[in-house]
């Protein structure tokens, strides 16, 4: 066991895979010489050299296009899009090309690309550098979507994503970068499509992702003080989605809450709420409740940003109100 920061876990996980597979390459803006603007790729240039770890111009379409073309001709690629908001400038490659290539060609094409990107709020960067856009990718058939909340998950899910022959969008949360956690020694490999019950409980299921997981856990602690036993699920991957974990938990607790950092409309929690409302309807003892950032662009000022993103307080309050 070694304690690593979430930030360092990224380079650690990539290094593990680049050692294993000498074909694996990566590209992105400022990832080589500078070790990434979030310092998530520090040391990789030194270990693997500039053929395998490569700085690019500000050309997100060219970056992801190159990743896709290389991947489909036998070279797996990790591509970095610096902030997830910038997926919008290369969304055609993400949504219309990578995702659809295998299906459109009747199964001829394989696109083993991992698109890593810094996601989420809490850094006072304002509306164009703070979005939680997992749903932008979840809604596109053909993309796998991963969003770890701990350093160990970063390493294990990165390995799983890299080894997956399908395109994966891997969301690294900016506000988790400095958090620390233990990562097992030796090769770490996890599996996509497996949620984790990070706290067991009986009265309510709280489904969370990434930065919202520690808040959901804190909220569960506080709810416990009030005699409410909340089960917390860290989804970890949105596609494939571990519906068994969700439905199993709801069967036990009969109540479900989602905690979403995204602005409300069509967030991942909407999908989960709809699945629960369809498939676990008869298990439910009360409404499915979504706790989300309101449907607004994110403000820059600390006071406002903190108000916008679901806080531990808001989770506690909402769960309590709804269980009364």
């Amino acid at each position: 066991m070694a304690e690593l920061s979430y930030r360092d876990a990224v380079a650690y996980g990539i290094a593990q895979e680049m050692r294993r597979d000498p074909q694996l390459v990566m590209l992105g803006e400022d990832i080589a010489g500078a070790g990434g603007v979030f310092k998530t790729t520090v040391g990789l240039l030194n270990e693997f050299g500039p053929t395998r770890v490569r700085d690019t111009p500000i050309s997100e379409q060219a970056i992801l296009g190159a990743a896709m073309g290389a991947a489909m001709t036998g070279v797996p690629v990790i591509a970095e899009i610096m902030f997830s908001d910038f997926l919008a400038v290369c969304f055609d490659i993400v949504a219309n090309e990578m995702a659809k290539s295998r299906y459109m060609t009747g199964g001829q094409m394989s696109v083993p690309v991992v698109v890593r990107t810094a996601n989420g709020g809490g850094s006072r960067f304002g509306a164009q550098h703070s979005q939680s856009v997992e749903n932008w990718c979840m809604m596109i058939p053909g993309l796998k979507v991963v969003a770890p909340s701990t350093p160990a998950d970063v390493v294990g899910l990165l390995a799983a994503s890299i080894r997956d022959p399908d395109p994966v969008v891997f969301f690294e949360h900016k506000s988790l970068m400095a958090t620390k956690g233990d990562v097992p020694e030796g090769e770490v490999i996890d599996e996509l499509g497996q949620a984790k019950i990070v706290r067991a409980g009986t009265d309510a299921t709280i489904v969370a992702l990434a930065y919202m997981v520690p808040r959901a856990l804190e909220a569960a602690e506080r709810l416990a003080e009030d005699g409410i036993s909340a089960e917390v699920i860290d989804l970890r991957t949105l596609v494939p989605l571990d519906t068994n974990a969700i439905l199993g938990s709801v069967a036990k607790t009969s109540r479900v809450f989602t905690v979403e950092e995204n602005p409300r409309l069509c967030g991942w929690g909407a999908e989960i709420a709809s699945i629960v409302a369809q498939e676990a309807f008869w298990d439910l003892d009360g409404p499915v409740v979504r706790i989300t950032t309101p449907h607004i662009p994110l403000p820059a000022a600390e006071a406002l940003e903190d108000l916008a993103i679901p806080s531990t307080d808001r989770i506690v309050r909402t769960v309590k109100e709804n269980l009364d």
């Binding site: 390459v25 296009g65 295998r102 009747g106 001829q108 519906t243």
Partner: protein, 357 residues
Amino acid sequence: MNTEMFDPELMDYANRDPRLPSPVDEGNADLGIDLEQRLDLYERQQVLRQFEKRAYDMFLQNLVKGTSHLSLGMEAVSAGFGAAMRQDDYTFATYRGHAHTLSRGVDLGPVMAELLGRENGLLKGKGGSMHLTSVEHGMMGSYAIIGAHLTIANGAAWSAQIRGTDQVTVCFFGDGTTNIGAFHEALNFAAIWKLPIVFVCENNLYMEYTPIDLITAVPNPAADRAAAYGLPRIIVDGNDADAVYMTALDVIAKARSGGGPSLVEAVTYREQGHSRADPGKYRPKEEVEAWKGRDPIPMYHQRLLGLGVSEGDLAAIQQDVARRVDEATEFAKAGAPPGTEHLMTDVWSDGGAAWRN
């Protein structure tokens, strides 16, 4: 509102001055291409022409659903490049990709069947006319949203560079495509990484229904931008298979030997509308007529006659191609519509479409 700033020709494109082809460069008869190669170029053009004419008949019989974009009149470009490429090279094309697919040696039958949306189609009917792909032939896809495939083609070239093979990637696109952002990103990227790639702009003078010169800041949409990427200016007569072939040999050799990318502008013309739905009325009649007079195939036919090939030999090639096109048509028509089991396959590498457990 200041309307004076507009040219009246903006009101009716068909009444603009026509953009006429340059006269045939008969010097090209002396390019030193051997006759066998020339007969191959002739045959390639015949295949593309006859296949697409048949495809057009299929539309008229309502056997092709959806849309479809023909290269009639533009065959010399893909024939010339197809002949100059090595078997393990990579091709990337647009929705106007029938010709480029066939040029890589893909069987005619599955291509026709794909147009007809049949299960024996190249893509099991799942992709359609705009997405022809045959990985085993190095035909790495036809892409229907403008721009993206230039960047994807870079990736294939980068991969060859990384793997240390000397495969070359050839990426075809239209004049209209030179105005989208991805064109710029792709060209700069290829240049700085010295990728083994050839970008081929098939300048057929129109972006769909709009004359390219009205919407482009330079007269030659590709060639006049080459310098912005540190590349030489290359224009070729896209209706002359020999000229295209010689240029293709050059730029492919350059790429193969580590000399980096090229950008080639092949000037040509499509004889029909942009796509199935388009009668093409926005073009001056005189212009269409003039370019029909420069149809690459009769021109090449004449050249071969001039070089001593007999009408009989050429007729034999034509007839052989006609037979292959007939067979392909039969193959396609005999195909069943794709079975329902195909709906939920090929989303993921495990063959399925499950997004949940």
